[in-house]
């Protein structure tokens, strides 16, 4: 809800996501899909729409779409139809995009969102369909000439359309992160927004709570979650202000101006294209064998919701911790390797605490972590068997991040092995207490706070290697006299 001078407003948001399918070849040609290749090196005559060229569906791309549909708990349509969406643009070589319109390959599904306040929101998926990407117009190569790069032309996209179930920029952000996480778990889209593998169009309207839907505006081509959230916030406030000033919302396509943080009109309903959709006569209807779909279903990986539930039941983690650990597939896999045969709480704390902290400082993802899951597990083992103290383990970890060696090697090289030899510790205690005889007297007179001081002195004397439990036990005995 947005509170304005005239009362409460509700924002209604639906998202259309264009997710690039992970596939070595394009949707209707055998050309490659490598990101960042030299312009026009991944183009077949089919992609360039040369005369007489015909599309042939890439079975693997269909499999990826079906897998995604199953991952979104959606209906898989046994028959779907490719249609032509006709419009002229230089980076659209055929003058039409092959897409699905009336009969998409995937129907209704859903995504559940874990909101930060602990509530769960169910968001409906309207449909998922397969379509071709367009090429890229390069306007910055020459002052008056536009160049065309067709590497992207024909690459398979999944358009995933949500119901207008989202109610805030925050929910839209959570939805996008969750969808991206599911796609990555499934391996059907790499979710790299900066490379354009995941792009988002937002449909936004506002209304008084309980009233009918307002007129919507569509904001095209947002390529980061932050921009999606900024655009929604700005657009909702723009619409509210316009209505409050007595204006009317016009159905429009708008663009988000990243620099100014505002949305501005691209084209109005009157200027909207008439795409003249009709079934592509070069392609037969796409008919799926139910057994084939079933085999894909059986092979689905464990998805974030199921993994979270299992982390909670199997490892006794809190919902919040489990949620953090499953959000990214790589994190979850990392954690599962660390936790194997070890204390789950300790494993979770190390991954979410020291490891995340280090990765954040280095500005890298867990996939490039300098500390492997095996190494982190080994460190936890060294703590558990008393080889290093919890405090020294932090130093060992810092060294692991810096030089990437095994913890045991660092402990040995730096002499960080914990001292549990009672005689050695007793000697250290005796030395400290003898040197601080006046403080000992004060303590015995009732200044309990000095206990910590003695522990600190003893640890310093042992370079932190003394086993804290043994120190406590012996020190208490000595002070008690």
């Amino acid at each position: 809800m947005i509170e304005s001078r005239t009362g409460k407003w509700e924002t209604v948001i639906g998202l259309e996501i264009h997710a690039q399918v992970v596939s070595k070849a394009k949707l209707f040609s055998g050309a490659g899909t490598d990101f960042g290749a030299e312009p026009n090196t991944q183009v077949s005559p089919v992609d360039a729409a040369f005369p007489g060229m015909l599309p042939v569906i890439n079975r693997f791309c269909v499999e990826q779409a079906v897998r995604t549909g199953l991952g979104l708990a959606a209906e898989i349509n046994s028959a779907s139809v490719f249609e032509r969406k006709n419009y002229f643009y230089p980076d659209l070589p055929a003058g039409y995009q092959i897409s699905q319109y009336l009969h998409p390959v995937v129907g209704r599904g859903r995504i559940s969102l874990d909101m930060p306040d602990g509530t769960v929101r169910e968001i409906g998926i309207t449909r998922l369909h397969l379509e071709q990407d367009a090429g890229k117009s390069l306007h910055d190569q020459h002052p008056t000439v536009t160049y065309i790069d067709l590497n992207r032309a024909g690459i398979a996209l999944m358009e995933i359309v949500s119901e207008p179930d989202l109610r805030s920029a925050e929910e839209a952000g959570v939805y996008l992160r969750k969808l991206r996480s599911i796609l990555r778990y499934l391996g059907t889209c790499d979710g790299n927004m900066e490379e354009g593998s995941l792009r988002c169009d937002c449909n936004i309207s506002v209304r008084r709570p309980g009233e009918a839907l307002g007129t919507r505006c569509e904001i095209k081509n947002l390529n980061s979650i932050r921009h999606v959230m900024q655009a929604i916030d700005h657009e909702a406030r723009r619409q509210i202000e316009l209505i409050e000033e007595g204006g009317r919302i016009e159905q429009q396509t708008r663009l988000f101006d990243v620099g100014r943080g505002i949305t501005r009109p691209m084209r109005s309903k009157e200027e909207a294209h008439d795409y003249r959709y009709f079934p592509d006569p070069d392609l037969l209807p796409l008919v799926l064998d139910p057994d084939w779909v079933e085999r894909i279903r059986v092979d689905l990986p464990e998805l974030p919701d199921a993994k979270k539930a299992r982390f909670m039941s199997e490892y006794g983690l809190s919902a919040a911790d489990a949620g953090v650990l499953v959000a990214e597939k790589e994190t979850a896999l990392f954690f599962e390797r660390v936790v194997e045969g070890r204390d789950a709480k300790a494993a979770a704390n190390w991954v979410m605490g020291d490891l995340f902290g280090a990765l954040n400082r280095l500005g890298i993802g867990i996939g490039r972590s300098p500390v492997s899951a095996g190494q982190l597990g080994a460190l936890i083992d060294l703590i558990a068997d008393g080889t290093v103290s919890g405090r020294l383990a932090k130093d060992v970890f810092a060294e692991m991040v810096a030089i990437g060696s095994d913890p045991a090697a660092i402990v040995a090289a730096k002499g960080l092995r914990q001292v549990t030899d009672r005689a050695a510790i007793e000697t250290a205690i005796d030395t400290v207490l003898a040197a601080q005889a006046d403080k000992v007297a004060e303590y015995r007179a009732g200044r309990d706070k000095l206990y910590g001081f003695f522990v600190g002195q003893i640890m310093r004397a042992t370079q932190g290697k003394a086993n804290p439990a043994v120190v406590n036990q012996l020190l208490k005995k000595k002070l008690a006299g």
Binding site: A49, F50, P51, G52, L54, P55, G95, R276, F278, D282
Partner: protein, 496 residues
């Protein structure tokens, strides 16, 4: 053998002569190269490829000498300039493909070359195969080698495969490829006194054939005799994984299936094909065809194809809708003609205005209109329903009969310019041929007689899907019965 004697051989005879080494493939190719040059006034070829013909003939001679002859080794054929041929100018009869040399070879022509056929050149056609008279080509009209003895005016060869039909009729090719979207193989075959077959949809790959209307485009053979067409079809046909609409069905030996008798075969005679204004001589010829088949032992059966009258309007909606989209790629950006403008929109407008002729522009506009918001249901969707009903008409007819006999066209060849005033009158030429395109069933035209003013007239045999064998068998019976031996006024080598 002299040139005229070589040119007088049909494909089957030439194949025989080559195998028996009575003459070399090079001699045959050279004779045909000369014939192509001699036939130049007909404007049947846009791009002759004489050197390629000789080189391919030499390769054939090598194989023939080694006893490794391929099915069509040394047979000179012409290629409708709608088929992409690697490294050879491919125009579709349009200025918009100015200078376009494809970096690939169409599946059908590739198969022909793999069968040993020799390429004579690329034949003229209506622009983007849009026309029934071969007068819409950027490269000028094609003349029919036939003329009315009475007035000697140049006549159209029919269209859109008019160049192919004229070349075969004038002995400037032994056979040719055509494409048939609404009659573009059969109608020119009828006008030029040759045999043309539109195979079943999916029998010959469309890969590498410039698209007019994808769901209606049928590549197919044209030749002097039914046997020649059966041989050529065998080399052109077959499943192609690069064309999703290509049928994964085996290709029978069409030639070997000729010659069987047609005793007991039921021949459907559709009463709806008796259209108002059809010349009585065509009706008489049709009746004659019925009698020929009856005397060969077949049983004529009157049938009804009630949806026939809706075929032409449905065709002109579906074909033009698809064409409007298929031709969007000719935008001046990547190949062919570009006329620079001050803005992108202007470049598009100038390029397409200069590149497309009037008939293509008309069809793109109509096609765009019938697909546009608010009209789609009334036109395109309704036309698709009609199409389904027409296919059903044929399906139920083929429960009762084995094939259907009709005239190929409602008239003989007309003079160039005679019908150019009214596009609808031109469209009516396709009235008998269009239904088979909508249903995707095979249909052939075979020359069956001459009109009163001395021009060839064809009869059409329509068959069940993938039953080209029966169509060809019946066509050969008609061919034999009609014993059509007439030659056009112009034949290369002077005729012999």
């Amino acid at each position: 053998m002299s040139d005229p004697a070589l040119l007088a051989l049909d494909l089957a005879e030439a194949r025989d002569g080559l195998t028996r080494r009575l003459f070399s493939a090079r001699e045959l190719a050279a004779a045909y190269n000369d014939a192509v040059a001699e036939a130049e006034p007909l404007n049947a070829y846009i791009t002759p490829t004489p050197e390629r013909a000789l080189a391919m003939a030499d390769a054939s001679d090598g194989r023939l000498a080694r006893g490794e002859a391929l099915p069509l080794d040394g047979i000179p054929v012409a290629v409708k300039d709608l088929y992409c041929t690697k490294g050879v100018l491919t125009t579709a009869g349009s200025h918009i493909l100015h200078g376009f040399c494809p970096p690939y070879e169409s599946t059908v022509t590739e198969k022909l070359w793999q069968s040993g056929a020799v390429m004579l050149g690329k034949t003229n056609l209506d622009e983007f195969a849009m026309g029934s008279s071969n007068t819409t080509s950027w490269y000028g009209p094609v003349e029919n080698p036939w003329r009315r003895p009475a007035d000697n005016r140049p006549l159209v060869p029919g269209g859109s495969s008019g160049g192919s039909a004229a070349a075969v009729a004038a002995r400037a090719a032994l056979a040719a490829t055509g494409t048939d979207t609404g009659g573009s193989i059969r109608q020119p075959a009828s006008f030029c006194g040759i045999v043309g077959l539109k195979p079943t949809y999916g029998r010959c790959s469309r890969w590498g054939v410039v698209a007019y209307a994808s769901s209606l485009d049928h590549p197919g053979p044209m030749g002097r005799t039914v046997r020649d067409v059966a041989i050529t079809l065998g080399a052109m046909a077959g499943h192609d994984p690069r064309d999703s609409t290509s049928a994964p069905v085996p290709v029978p030996n069409f030639e070997a299936m000729l010659g069987d008798n047609i005793e007991g075969l039921r021949i459907g005679i559709p009463r709806e094909y008796c259209v108002a204004g059809m010349p009585s001589e065509i009706e008489a010829l049709w009746q004659q065809g019925v009698e020929w088949l009856r005397s060969a032992g077949a049983e004529p059966v009157e049938i009804s194809l009630p949806m026939t009258k809706y075929a032409l309007p449905a065709y002109y909606i579906i074909a033009l809708a698809e064409a409007s989209s298929n031709l969007a790629r000719y935008d001046g950006v990547r190949f062919g003609l570009r006329v620079e403008g001050d803005s992108l929109a202007e470049m598009y407008e100038l390029t397409r205005a200069a590149g497309f002729g009037a008939e293509v522009r008309r069809r793109v506009l109509i096609g765009t209109y019938v697909l546009s918001a608010g009209y789609y249901d009334a036109y395109y969707l309704k036309a698709q329903r009609v199409r389904t009903l027409i296919a059903r008409d044929f399906a139920s007819a083929f429960e009762r009969v084995d094939c259907i006999l009709t005239p190929t066209a409602p008239s003989a060849a007309f003079a160039i310019g005679e019908k150019s005033g009214d596009p609808i009158e031109m469209y009516l030429n396709d009235v008998f041929t269009v239904p088979a395109n909508l249903a995707g069933v095979p249909a052939a035209s075979v020359p069956a007689g001459l009109s009163g003013d001395g021009l060839p007239l064809g009869l059409q045999i329509i068959g069940r899907a993938f039953d080209e064998a029966t169509v060809l068998r019946v066509a050969e019976i008609l061919e034999r019965a009609a014993s059509f031996r007439h030659l056009p006024g112009f034949v290369a080598g002077g005729g012999s």
